[in-house]
Symmetry: C2
Subunit: 384 residues, 2 copies
């Protein structure tokens, strides 16, 4: 059952240690409420707030919301690793379709720069923490496997970085943007072989917000056709699939089935390119490229703006930035802008159906902590 | 609409820095699953997991659950300050009654000792953080106001601590227990005038878990008659009520109305005695004592085991401990044991209806971040 997105907003993304989480959230919420024209009184009020945040200060949402005169309503803050924002969105969608609420606000917010000076390493009490297995290393093992299998090349991995940094040149709110060559990406400092610096998403501060309703109110509302969330099943290193591949695949199947649409209906996608290899494995797991072809497509320009199926027009996690709890909600905001036709220099022509995928966490023995996939459809209502 | 609690479990509570959050959670989940006799196959499996945790490592739940062979199901981790555990429980109840799931697991887990050496102080970016307004000070202001109004006395405040430490002498899993005098409580080190050390809940590590079902399966299942969650509305220091009073009152009214029961039906209560004054304000806000009488009742023994309406038979946050995200779920576990008649030396005779209240967070300008109230009813099915 569909729900409707009537307003989206974000903060800038980047290293913003002088702002508080509340100030980042304030910007995103203000823009989303204004975008939904809630002040006009034509819409119902906000019945509840769903928040995605991983390292957030307890109660950050209530503090911010009072400033926007949203007080006394239930606030549900969801932590689901890197998929926290879209997990909050999925919970909101379920609450709307079940009749629990009429209209809700979804907020993703994360301020990371005061907390991290280097890569995020799992807790010392866990196997990964004790072995120093930080996230770049997890993805480096995926990349190594695909290179070994001949399923991608170093140059194709680098092409993902080149493309997403170029996309971000049209996104004023992105953390990093620029014109790089394949050679420059490969020559940037090695972080975890074969992942170089320009192939890693950064430590980021940012927020994003979405107003969602049970019923369509405006011609510019974008339809959330379906969303799904799964946690990983048991994982075995002898599996033919790299870590998380099966989880992403199965979650996408849930969504395509619920939506009555297939991968061929998708005009653009915002996916979890925490590291370059992530975009390639995800593209194939989602069915947006045949097995073994995602890398070639990235290199050929097929997934760039102007290509057959643009992926991460916003710049993705690699370039827009990756403030964990905000990421999924920012992906949704980008797709809404695209489906309304207001994405400016990064607009995907004729975009009608957009897909969002977020993948969270990595622990040994589990095929990914959490994955959320959502499918959105524009209604040809343009807002200018 | 009712839901059913078929299994509960907890870890020990206390300073357990050598255990990981996963190990604490492991104990609680194992006990709850065993208590629900899930291994027998007579019950449906676990369809989803709702987790309450404030400072928890991202993805802690998925890591623990795989060890109990619960994999691939949605995991929703909820952060709602000190009310995180019961917020997770409330979300679980809504999911069951709406038909989303048949049977779910609720987990509360928190490991605090590696994080805190002293009182919890809000973030430096907030008004409270900048002014050093730690939680003891927030409650100290409440106590000062009630003392000024003649609504309680120093000795009555101390009586809450004496009672709850005495209750905990019958609870092997409690963090602190012992026989104290009023004088000893008042003579313990001053933390924030008039709150002394023995009137403060400790920094704790612990976990608790609950198995909940849409339908009753066993005669020992305890009915969750109703639960409600509210966030605080705007608060004004000129209010006649102390901070949080109105929020607790209104949340309780939601529950009593939904349950078709009043405060007079309640045989025992587990409430949020983070500091002694908290138990008194909460008791009155819930309607479990007339205005101005909660302190006198604590001093008279009316709220002790053997009294007219025992409050915090487990020892409460003051003595059982207060591992934030675990607290609310541990309160529910205690009430379930009481309603089954298996609470041993701390059993409330003839307990039939029990109430749980958890109150979360404190920020300026808001009347409490979150409050959850739940009403449980026993079915006279005893388990020995």
């Amino acid at each position: 059952m569909s729900t409707w997105i009537s307003g989206v907003g974000t903060s800038n993304f980047g290293k913003q240690p002088d702002l508080s989480p509340a100030e980042l959230a304030w910007q995103a919420i203000g823009e989303a409420l204004s975008d939904a024209e809630l002040a006009s009184g034509a819409r119902p009020g906000i019945d509840a707030v769903y928040v995605g945040s991983v390292f957030g200060e307890p109660g950050v949402a209530v503090r911010v919301l009072q400033g926007h005169a949203i007080t006394g309503v239930p606030v549900i803050t969801v932590e689901n690793a890197c998929a926290s924002g879209t997990s909050a969105l999925h919970e909101a969608a379920v609450a709307l379709t079940s009749g629990r609420y009429e209209q809700v606000l979804v907020l993703g917010v994360e301020q990371m720069t005061p907390l991290f000076n280097g890569p995020i390493i799992p807790q010392q009490s866990d196997t990964e923490g004790r072995t120093g297995l930080a996230m770049p290393s997890m993805y480096a093992m995926e990349a190594s496997r695909w290179l070994y299998e001949g399923r991608t090349t170093l140059e194709q991995l680098a092409a993902v970085s080149v493309k997403n940094h170029r996309h971000a040149m049209h996104n004023d709110r992105a953390q990093y943007r620029g014109e790089y060559t394949i050679e420059e990406v490969l020559a940037s400092p090695m972080i975890s072989d074969p992942i170089t610096l320009l192939q890693c998403s950064p430590i980021s501060d940012g927020a994003a917000a979405v107003v969602m309703s049970r019923n369509r109110v405006s011609t510019t509302d974008v339809e959330l056709v379906a969303s799904a969330q799964r946690s990983g099943g048991p994982w075995d290193h002898r599996s033919d699939d790299v870590w998380g591949y099966r989880l992403i695949h199965d979650t996408a199947q849930d969504v395509f089935e619920a939506a009555g649409l297939g991968p061929d209906a998708v005009d653009l996608a915002e996916v979890h390119d925490a590291f370059t290899i992530g975009e390639l494995t995800t593209t194939e797991a989602l069915g947006l490229a045949p097995a073994g072809e995602a890398g070639a497509r990235a290199a050929s320009g097929a997934t760039a703006l102007g290509g057959a199926l643009p992926i991460n027009p916003s710049g993705g996690l690699l370039s827009r930035g990756h403030p964990l709890g905000a990421t999924g909600v920012a992906q949704v905001a980008e797709v809404v802008w695209q489906l309304r036709g207001v994405a400016g220099g990064r607009q995907v022509d004729g975009a009608r159906v957009g897909l969002v995928e977020t993948m969270g966490g990595g622990v040994s023995g589990v095929d990914g902590n959490a994955c959320v996939v959502a499918l959105l459809r524009g209604q040809h209502g343009e807002r200018n």
